[in-house]
């Protein structure tokens, strides 16, 4: 691990000011992904600002009947919150489908959104990777790509977003609240928060330097049956090969987002109109334009079959 200095934040504004004005500075909360990457020297912050003391750990009702989740709420506390379990079951289920009890106890909501990808070449510092060393090339294209993205990729990068929570947040149309160095706050739709690689795969999030996630907001509950089905190589504690987050309503309509297949949770709203026609109709529209590698082409039919299972669960 490279040397770094450390301080505890005293206020959001001071923390943001420090990170925005200090080259190489980063926020740290749970640290479960950041410290892992620092040990590999993939992340090399020169200064860490510990934000855990900031008053951003509450879950509050919003005026419109939704919820505002502080960025420092742990994954465990979010999954266990009575209103999340009752009204946003897809979110609770997605969170507990990821990681382990130990990691969920430490990981924060804001940090979960900012977790880096799990491409084997991003982790292998002996190999080119455009995310880690911009311009060095993508080793995954033509390399080991079984776990990686099949759609939304570019000639620069085919890494996928490994998260579970974000897939549920996408199906719920959550928003990410932030504060920047000028003290301005904004609300970024989750659909726009995670970026596709294009020609700049090293830029993964729609955040300005020093911009701090303060909360995630949920709209009023959608009702219906809520599902998160994750297909992986082990029964527990493994990243998704394919996952499906769904809210299915009694009238046959609903919302669907796929995880494990793209650089961001993959939701095509227009395809949801085909839900009454079944999984094949939805999946063919969702994966139109997919560009899989030979090793991961199986994910597309697997995603369709997983969706079929979820639709059947919804009807059961």
């Amino acid at each position: 691990m490279k040397p770094f200095t450390y301080e505890r934040a005293t206020s959001p504004a001071a923390a943001i000011e420090t990170v925005a004005s200090t080259p190489g500075a980063k926020f740290i909360a749970g640290g479960t992904n950041l410290l892992d990457l620092m040990k590999f020297e993939i992340e090399r912050p020169t200064h860490l600002v510990d934000v855990r003391g900031l008053p951003l750990a509450a879950i509050e009702d919003t005026e419109d009947g939704g919820l505002r989740i502080g960025a420092l709420v742990t994954n465990t506390d979010l999954a266990a919150h009575p209103r999340i379990k009752r009204d946003y079951g897809v979110l609770s289920r997605a969170i507990v489908a990821g990681a382990t009890g130990q990691l969920r106890n430490k990981a924060s909501v804001g940090g979960n959104l900012l977790q880096r990808n799990r491409c084997p070449y991003f982790y292998n510092t002996n190999m080119p990777c455009n995310k880690r060393v911009p311009g060095s090339g993508c080793s995954a294209i033509g390399g080991i790509s079984r776990s990686l993205a099949v759609i939304g990729t570019s000639d620069s990068c085919i890494a996928h977003n490994p998260g579970d929570m974000a897939v549920a947040l996408r199906v719920l149309d959550a928003a990410v609240e932030t504060m920047n160095a000028d003290g301005q706050t904004r609300s970024i739709p989750i659909a726009d928060f995670l970026l596709l690689p294009g020609e700049t795969p090293e830029i993964e999030f729609a955040l300005q330097p020093g911009e701090l996630i303060t909360a995630v907001t949920l709209r009023p509950p959608l009702g219906g049956t809520q599902h998160y089905h994750k297909v992986r190589d082990r029964a527990s504690y493994a990243f998704a090969i394919v996952s499906v987050a769904a809210v299915l309503l009694e009238d046959g309509t609903g919302r669907i987002a796929f995880g494990g297949v793209a650089p961001k949770p993959w939701r095509i709203e227009a395809a949801e109109a085909a839900l009454p026609d079944g999984a094949e109709a939805v999946a063919s529209a969702v994966f139109e334009g997919a560009a899989p590698m030979e090793d991961n082409a199986f994910k597309i039919p697997l995603a369709e079959r997983t969706l079929a299972l979820v639709i059947a669960e919804g009807k059961a």
Partner: protein, 164 residues
Amino acid sequence: MDVNGVSYTLTLDSRTTLLDALREHLHLTGTKKGCDHGHCGACTVLVNGTRINACLSLAVMHEGDSITTIEGLGTPGDLHPMQAAFLKHDGFQCGYCTPGQICSAVALFDEIKKGVPSHVTGDLSAPMTASNLELRERMSGNICRCGAYSNIQDAIAEIAGGVV
């Protein structure tokens, strides 16, 4: 920080993990270093009663915290019930993962009582139970390379019978 009821003041390199602080500085070597990346669970300790991976936490981030390691759960002459259950059911072979397994197993019952769901929970809003399926899922962050899982499960299930 407080470790097993004793208060310590340490001056450490900012890079020191909680795990290395416990093992290398306080010489509490019961907590084990396996993968050092949060994959194996051998370093599981309780921080303010909650289980975490000590390898993925900086010691400097635990100022004022109360840490419990395997040494703080029980002693050879006064075993914690979970330690006794692991002995009774032969819940280990080489023993390297055992401190983490036991710390994790002790903590998961509080999580069940607080209504924290797991991946195998049926009704999210119903009271949580400590079924065998639940225990296995909730212990998936603790790997045993010897494969003593069935005996580990038996040990935890015995305690579950008296707790939940």
